[in-house]
Structures are given as C-alpha cells and as structure tokens.
Symmetry: D2
Subunit: 339 residues, 4 copies
C-alpha cells in the first residue's frame, strides 16, 4: 500500500463486478490493478474498459501479488467463502458481495479466517449507503424520532427474475428479504429476536412450482422492544419500490421513492409524474460508489468497515428463520436456526 | 315517514351523539324529532341546540312514537344490543355507533331481531365514508390496481386515552384496531382468514399495568390470498396518523394524512408544513356527515345500508382473534374464537 | 338585535345568495329572517329551503323592518351601491358581494353613506378566509418569512364564462384579477404603487372579438418595495388552479391546490392523483362559511369587519389601472386612474 | 481525431474548468490531452488530478497541436471571444463557458470566425441538460401541455456574491438572468419579442451602491404569443431555488427543487424535510457531465451542437434589453438594443 492509494483486484466481472470496477476507476484513493474471471473474454473486456493490464483466470495469482492490497469479490455466491479464506490467509482485505453464503458453518469458517488474519472485511449491503437510508439512520441514531417503536420496510422489485435464477436463489427470504433484514438491523441499531412470515404465490405460479414464494410480509420483533414489518413483492409494475419508515416516541421518519426528475404534469385526466426509477442500478447508483469509497477509506485508515462479518452473517440467520416460520407457520426465534 | 323526509330520534347525547344531531340538522332529507338520554340536562342542551322539542329520559317512549322512523344509538356500548332489539321490535330502523358489543351472543341476538323485524341497521364505521378511503376502495373495486396482493393500514392516535377509559375499552384490539379490521374488510372486499399479532407496551407503562398494550402490528391473511398489516400506536406526537395502501398486480394506491392547509414554509432550517389534523372529529368531520346521509338515503330508498349487521359482527370476531393471538403467541383463525 | 343572534335579510337569491343562505342557516349566532328578490319564484324557493317565511320582491321592505339587523347583498353588481346606501340610511349593517361597483364615484357615494350611518360593511372577498391564504398571511404578518420581497399569485379558472357574461363582466381585470388584487393587498399588507400588464387572447378568439383578453400576467410594485405577479388564465383544463407564494428575507411560504382526496395511484404508466377541485364553490366552500361567520361576529361584537369599504375600492382602482396599462402598453400608477 | 475518441484541451482551470476536467476524465468517448492556464500552479494541479501531462501557460500552443480536436474555454469572460476566434482559425471545435461576452460586436466577430472555419461551437448553458428541464422541454415540444400560454421561471441563488464579483459581473441581468433567458428560449422554443423589468435592491444595500439590483421580476413576451416571468433573487436563505412551469392549452408542467434525499420527518412541531441543495455544483452536477457528453457526441457525429452560437448571443441581447427596461422604466423590444 504505497502512498495513500489502495490497490484493488477484482474477482468476477459480471454486472455488479463491472459497476465496482467503474467506481474504483473514478476514485482518487484507489486503483484497480488486476482482474480475475474464469470467463477470460469477460475479464479482458472489463480490463480494457477500465485501463487495467493484469488479467487472469486464476484469482489466486492476484492474491499472491504484493501489488494487491485488497480484493473485491463479485464471483458467484458459492465461491465467496473459499475466496475470502484464501484472501485472508494471503493478508488481503476483502470486499465481498452479498450474500456471503447460505451455509452458516461455511460463513463461520470464512469469518474465522478473516479474524485470524486481522484483515478488513466489508459486505456489499450497498443500500446502507443510500442517502435516504443514511438520513433515516441518522434520525434514529440521533434521537430525532425518540425511542423507535415501529419499523416498516417496503421492498418490491419491478419484475421477477427468470425461473433459472429462482432455482438457485436460495428462496425469496435469502435472495431478496436478506437486504431488508440488513436494512432492519442497520436502521434500528438493534438485533431481531423473532420472525414471523406470511407469504404467498401471487405474481407467478411458476415461482410456486419451484417451491418459492413471490409475495411476503415478514414481521420482526427487535431486542429493543420495537416491532417491524418487511413487505416484499417480486413485481411492482410501476418500478422499483423502496421505502422505509421508523416511528418512535418523538416522531416518525420516512422516505419516498427515487424519481428520474421532480417534474409534474397536469392535464385534463390527472396530475402525474413519470414512474420512479425502475432498475436497482439506477436507484442505487450512488450507494454503490459510496460503499466502495467507504471500504477504501476504512482500509486506508485502519478502522473497522461499516458492514462487518457479523453483518454478513446475521441476515442469513434471519433468512433461515423466515423460511422456517413460513414452513412451520409459527413465529421463530433466530437461535432456533442458528448452529 | 311522510313525504321523503326521515324522522330520526337520537338516543345518547355525548360527544358523538351531538355530532350526529348537528349533521342531521343540516340535512334536507331528515329531521331530528326526539332526543333521549338518562342525563336529562345533557339531553335538553342538545335538544335546544338543534331545535328539537321532544326530550325524554326513557328511550322506549321514542320507540313507541309513530312520528319516529329510525333511531340513532349513541349510548354506552353495553346498552347497544338491547336498544337495537327494542327498536327492531318497534319497527324502527337503527343507526348504531360502533362497536355494536363485545359479546358475540348478544350481537347475534340483536342481529336476529333486526332480521326478524325487517328493519335496516347501519353501524357507525364512519371511516368508510372518508374521501380517501372511498377512493382507495374504488381503485380496488374497479381493478385500477389489479388483483390486490398486499394491504397496509397505519392507524395511530395522537395520544392515549385516560386509564379510566382503557379499563373499560375492551383492550386495544376491540377499541382501536376494530376500526382497522372494518377498514381492511371494506378496502379489500374479502374476509380475513387468519390473524397474527405482535404487540408491546411502548407508550405508557400504566397501560401495561392494566393488562393492555399500546403498540401493535396485526398481520392479516385474506380469503382472496392477500396479506395485510395494521400498524397501531396509541401515541403519534405529530397528530392523528391514518394512511392506507393497497398494492396489487397492476399497481398501488395509497393515501396521505389530512392537513389543515396545503401550505409549505421554507426557511433556513427546513422545508416544512404544519402538523396534520390532530383530532378525529376534525380528520373525519365530513365522513360523519356522509355516513348519516347514506343511512337516511338507504332507509328512504328501501335498500341495504352500506355497513350492515354482518359488518358489525366481523370486526369483533377479528378483535377477539387478535387478542387470542397476542395471548397465545401464534396465528389464530377467526373460527377459533367464533361461537 | 336581541340576545346575541344577528337577524339577517338576504337580497338576491342567485347561486351565491343561496350559498350564503345555507351558511347562515347553519350558524348559531345568526338567523335568516327575510329574503328579497325581484324574481319571486327564486326567492320563494330559497326561502322554503332555509325555513324563511318572510319573502318580498321589494328589498326596501326588509330595510324598514325592525327585525332586520343586517342585509346580505347578492343582487347584480349594478344595484350594489344603491342598496348599500339605502341600507346604511336605514341603519342596517351590510355584507355585499364583490365587486362593489366599477364606478369609483358611485363607490365613494356608497362608502360615504356607510360612514355617515356608522354601520358595518363587509365585502365578499371570500378567498381571504381560505385556510391556505390565512396561513400565508399569518406567515407574512408574523415575520416567518422575514421582509417580503416577491409575491406570486396563480389564479386560473377551469373554463371561460359564456360570451354573454364576458360582455357585461367589466373585462378580465375587473372580473377576475380583482380577486387577486385583493389577495395581493391582503397577503402583503401593503398597497400597490404601480401596475404593468401583459395580456393576450390565447384561449378563445371570441373573447378577443368582445374586446377582452383571457390570458394575462400583471406585474405589481408595492409600497413596501416588494414586486409581485398575478398569473391569470380563463382556462386551466386540469381544474381550478389557485396558488400563491410569498418570498422574503427569511424564507418563502407557498400553497398548493386543493384536491378531492390525498390519494395517489401508481400503475405502469405514471404516479398520479385525481384532478384538483374544479369548481370554485367546492374549492372555497369553507371560506364562504368563514367569511359570513366573520361578518356576523364583527357586527355582534361591534368591531371593524375584516374586509372594509377601503378593501372594496382599492381593487377596482387597480383593475382600472391594469386595463389602462394594457391599453397604453406602459406601467401605470393607481393615482392616474383614481378620481 | 483517431478512432472515436475526442481529444480535448482545457483553457482555464478555475472551479468550472476543473468540473469539466473531471467529467471528461470519466468519459469513454473523450480524452483530456492538454491544459492551459496563465496561473501555472493551478494548471499543474488540475493536470495532475486528471492524469494530463501536457501543461502550458500559453493556450495557443494547444491550438497549434495536431493532437487536439477541440478546446474547452473556461477562462475569464473577457478572453472568450478572442480564444474562440483563435481556436476557430486553428480548426478546433469549441466548448465555451457562458456568457460568451457582453459586447455584441465582439460576439458577432467570434461567431463569424466559427462559421468561416466550419467548426462546432457549444455554449455552457448547462441547465438545459438538467433532467427536470429536459422533461419540461419534452412536454412542451411533444405537445403534452398543448400550445404554451404562460411560462414561469424561479431562479434564486442561496446568497449574493461578494462586492468584487458584483462590480465586474455586468449586472444582475447579464450575470444571473442570462441563464434564465436561455432557459426561457429553450423551454418555449420561441424567441422573446419584448422585455419589461421590475427590479429592486432588497437583499443588500451594498449591491445598490454598486449600481446593481438583487431582486427582480422580468416579464417576457414571446413571438408565439406566450407570456413569461423570471423571478430572480440573490438570496434565498433556504438554498438554491430553481423551478419552472409551462402552462398551456392542454395542461401544465412544472418542476420542484432538488433535495439531498426524499426523507421526511414528522415530530411534534412540523412535518419537514431537509433544505434543498444549496450549491449550484451539487444541484447541476449531472447536467455539467451531460452537456460535455453532448458536445463530444455532436463533434464526433458531425452534427450541430444543442447550444449554438445563436443561443450564446440571444440571451445577451435580452440582458441588455432588460437593463434598458429597468433604466428607462418601460417595455423594451430586443431590436432596440441590438446592433
């Protein structure tokens, strides 16, 4: 780590990997120095677009390089924990896309490796870095709304993923709600002590045939006594719907969706505005840049990242609890599904 | 019932009775012809304010009068069913404040008497007649949002009632959530098939000492497959918070709170507006007038009222189910608590 | 004036007369005791609807009655000043619909009669009593926005009146902008020292053929140094558009239109709400009731009305100045058109 | 111009120059290849931050380089026309910050040089590229609001510039309103045929002592018959206030300010949100990037830029007309001040 610039290597050059590559390229405090992907043509394309010369199909090569300070793990979920372990042993800091894994034992193995090596780990829960969510968190943390009593998270996708994706997604609670579990912990600053799920197949019967659901409300009880709900749908025809509200003893804070512009049109039918942003890459564009900047700063300044290994693990436990609550039709406490 | 004017008698002259008296006085299709209250000074005061000459402490006198077509029952809840039965036997139509009663057997007795007499009965679920709720119901009924998948009701009072009231209220679910159970049935046009409650004492420990709760989320499953939540708090410091959202296959419809004006002030601290209306009499002023007009029209035109005996009973069942869910910490189906 | 109830007689039973009759009927502090209209069938109809027994075609009969404390003048504009003079001489207080007249000499005659008799006069500039406008006025008067620098009034009708009306209207500035001149004086608490008009025929060529305009911006200079604009159109296809903004040294206050409900619908085309209220009787319903209540209170309590004779005259002067500015294509000071 | 990448040189490395440098650095279709500034330390700093190696104090060196396709002129206003002429003669395309100049003869000389050389010229009216303004323009151009009748532009700065700046600014109309004159022409797609100004010193007496104003309303008449207003203040204490509205025969389109987040907080005092963005660099961040991308695309694709030489000149004429209207207190037509 020469000067104050962090040398990063990217592992995995799919959609999200390229977003991170582009953001790193614009940062003054970081430099992308290597790219690994088993798909070599994808790796080369991504490298060319970002002025990176070192390209490999074997990520371990990058881990062995002295010129690499940290890795950004954007490969498929099933490779996350082993790459984290390898990186930690090589003394590299790790930014890893969510979810870290669905298996708690494997997660614990990876986190132990990180601890043993004393490297930094940050998980890609980018929504924490969104301006709206930051403002809500600040209102809660600063006591602007007093003691929190109620939390509501609405989190609806514009359209369901293809069946092929659903099959390997781990189910709606581990694929989609996991973001909201993280958001719930982040906004409230308190752990979830119980989960109850009510879920249905309402959007697409094919999803039901695959054993999954597409519409759900997850009820949360927090250790601080607050109650929360998470509203999920795989299909909001008007676009990406992401809103939160925290209600407390001294008031309430809530957010609205993000629109392409603040323009309103009145005609003889209605007063209307264009639909909110429809694609998570547009909606959360700035949060992706902010989370990477935050990771780079944390490593450079030698302090804890804002999304830790514990933050990687807890939502997986809640996702497993949610699945069991759905299966057994009863409230479930996290420790019932924890190992 | 001479001409097309309905002659009404009022039984009970407390706050809500006086609201109805005032609204009737302004209607061209109705006339307030008698007032009964065991508190004679209250009855006389209300009569004077509305130009009514016939005043009695004994409501049965009014039921025996040929000049009375219908009664408006605003006495205490424990008197509702017996007055309804008396009125029905006397051939008088009945408008009765909610809740009709907390005892299902007594409710069934009153509804049987109404059916036997062939008179009309309307229950004072005034919120159905609010412009916002009417618009949401229309959007759902007309298919503007497609098949409903999710419902959210936020229903928070500005401040908790006194302990004396809490003691006799029947508990939060029968006192406060009962309105929202009615709203849920009204907006969705579907019956609730299961209830799960998560509730806490967060506002005032005194409420907890009385065995009641002050903060709750009630999760509903509907027969049409939709999922709903009701968010209740006894204390929203910013005022009366009443919002609903129905999300469906073709879109979403939602309402905002009612403000005293549509004025915004920007200064060097914030862009702000004054607090929403703080008192249910202000917030729902027009809905009280509209529900009475609707009752009068239904009777004059000889058709079913818009809030029937069945609508009086169903929310009580749901309130009992909610209480049991809270007590037993598990999802409860309405038939478990029905007789 | 027995007790604390004001006995009012209504002169003129057109649309606005009936609105006032209905509002008076609902007031506890006033009583409608007589109705006059040369159109006797209209007078009788209005009387029947409001429980008034005394009906005449000759308003002077009512002026001569001891049972009448005040008159509400809703007859055609050309009769206003003579009725005011007659009423004043008879010692009756007067509520008179706007405009008082278009002729400054006649106006001065009427105001002199009012002064000589020592009766109260209030002019029907109802918009002053609207909750939005009251809130803006309060923000300005209380210094919430500091010293006022800029004022904007948007005042657009849903559709133009018929040609017959345009012909006798006195022109757009005296018919439509006159309300906004009053609003400008009310909101700013300062007199207008200069007017400049830019006006066009954009909505309907027929209006142009009658020598009038249908689209205008009127620029105002105030004695306090502030600058204002009034935006008028005879046709806003989306409904009645009435918004104001006052910008000052410490901030800005502005109002939005009034909607039938606070309901928003999101579908795959837009996020929209229903059109704002389309009819001035709906938009300003409460302000009509409030202005009459204010008049009754002022008389009963023996204090100045909130819209005085001076407030009746000033907007007429400004309307004449606006017309001259338009005709001569130059800024005009009020004293140029005053007598 | 090898491949499809445009080689740009930057002249002037003040605040706005650095914004352009940073945006160019992020573009795939352009490359910053040289930087000129008489302030050599500023030039070197800017070069280092953007990975540019060629730095000079003499911009003509860059004009003589074959490796430069176009220049971005961000030097002081008084140097604009001569640099444009030099660049045009050297066959370089030009992006020039606004205003091009205050002297119409010098402007015409520069435009003639551009025409003679056949190079592209774009003026830095960045607000045209803002998502809100683009949406309004599209609504007008596509007929969504029908024939435009009225235009309102509100354009208020958070705080006045220092006296030193005011002295050389050319006056409020040429310094501040010039942006709004461009916006007016852009949004309406019609030329201004007459200007009338009402202006005052309300914010700071020092500005008045310098012979300038700080608060103004400029009334516009358009060739298409529409009427417009521009509201300017040097000081809006709540932040940068930039809103527009176009009202037409079929409806109205309007924009709101840009806020740092869409978060609302309700407490026992108000329902509020944080202040809008306070700095034009934040408010128009994306429009600066978009205008440069648009310039690069226009040059690469060999088509007309979206802000032409004519667009550079017209607002200066309107600024001069506004100044004369203010001085002579009468409406002024642009041809009166044109040469």
């Amino acid at each position: 780590m020469t000067e104050t610039r962090l040398n990063l290597a990217l592992i995995g050059t799919g959609r999200i990997g390229r977003v991170h590559a582009g953001n790193i390229a614009k940062m003054s405090g970081a430099r992308l120095v290597g790219i690994a992907d088993v798909n070599q043509s994808s790796a080369r394309e991504c490298a060319a677009a970002n002025g990176v010369t070192r390209v490999t199909s074997e990520y371990r090569e990058l881990l062995n390089s002295e010129g690499v300070d940290a890795v950004v793990v954007c490969s498929s979920t099933d490779t996350h924990t082993s790459i984290i372990e390898d990186a930690a042993r090589a003394g590299k800091h790790v930014f890893c896309e969510k979810p870290i894994d669905f298996d708690l034992r494997r997660i614990d193995g990876a986190l132990a490796a990180v601890d043993a090596a004393g490297v930094r780990l940050q998980i890609g829960f980018n929504r924490r870095f969104d301006a709206n969510h930051q403002r809500v968190r600040r209102a809660v943390a600063d006591g602007e709304v007093g003691e929190p009593h109620l939390l509501h998270i609405i989190s609806r996708d514009p359209s369901p993923p293809p069946a092929e994706y659903i099959k390997v997604s781990g189910g709606m609670f581990l694929d989609m709600t996991i973001h909201d579990f993280d958001m719930a912990r982040f906004l409230m600053g308190s752990e979830v002590s119980e989960v109850y799920v009510s879920a249905e197949v309402r959007v697409d019967p094919e999803i039901g045939k695959l054993g999954d659901v597409d519409t759900a409300v997850t009820l949360l009880k927090f250790e601080n006594g607050a109650i929360g709900t998470i509203d999920n749908s795989r299909q909001a025809v008007y676009g990406y719907d992401q809103r939160v509200e925290v209600f407390g003893s001294r008031g309430s804070v809530r957010t609205e969706n993000q629109f392409p512009s603040a323009t309103t049109i009145s005609d003889d039918h209605s007063v209307r505005r264009d639909l909110p942003l429809n694609f998570f890459m547009d909606r959360y564009r700035e949060s992706f840049a902010a989370e990477m900047a935050s990771f780079v700063d944390a490593v450079l300044e030698g302090r804890q990242t804002l999304v830790t290994g514990r933050d990687a693990r807890a939502p997986v436990v809640l996702g497993l609890a949610a699945q069991r609550s759905h299966d057994e039709h009863r409230p479930v406490r996290p420790e019932e599904v924890d190992i």
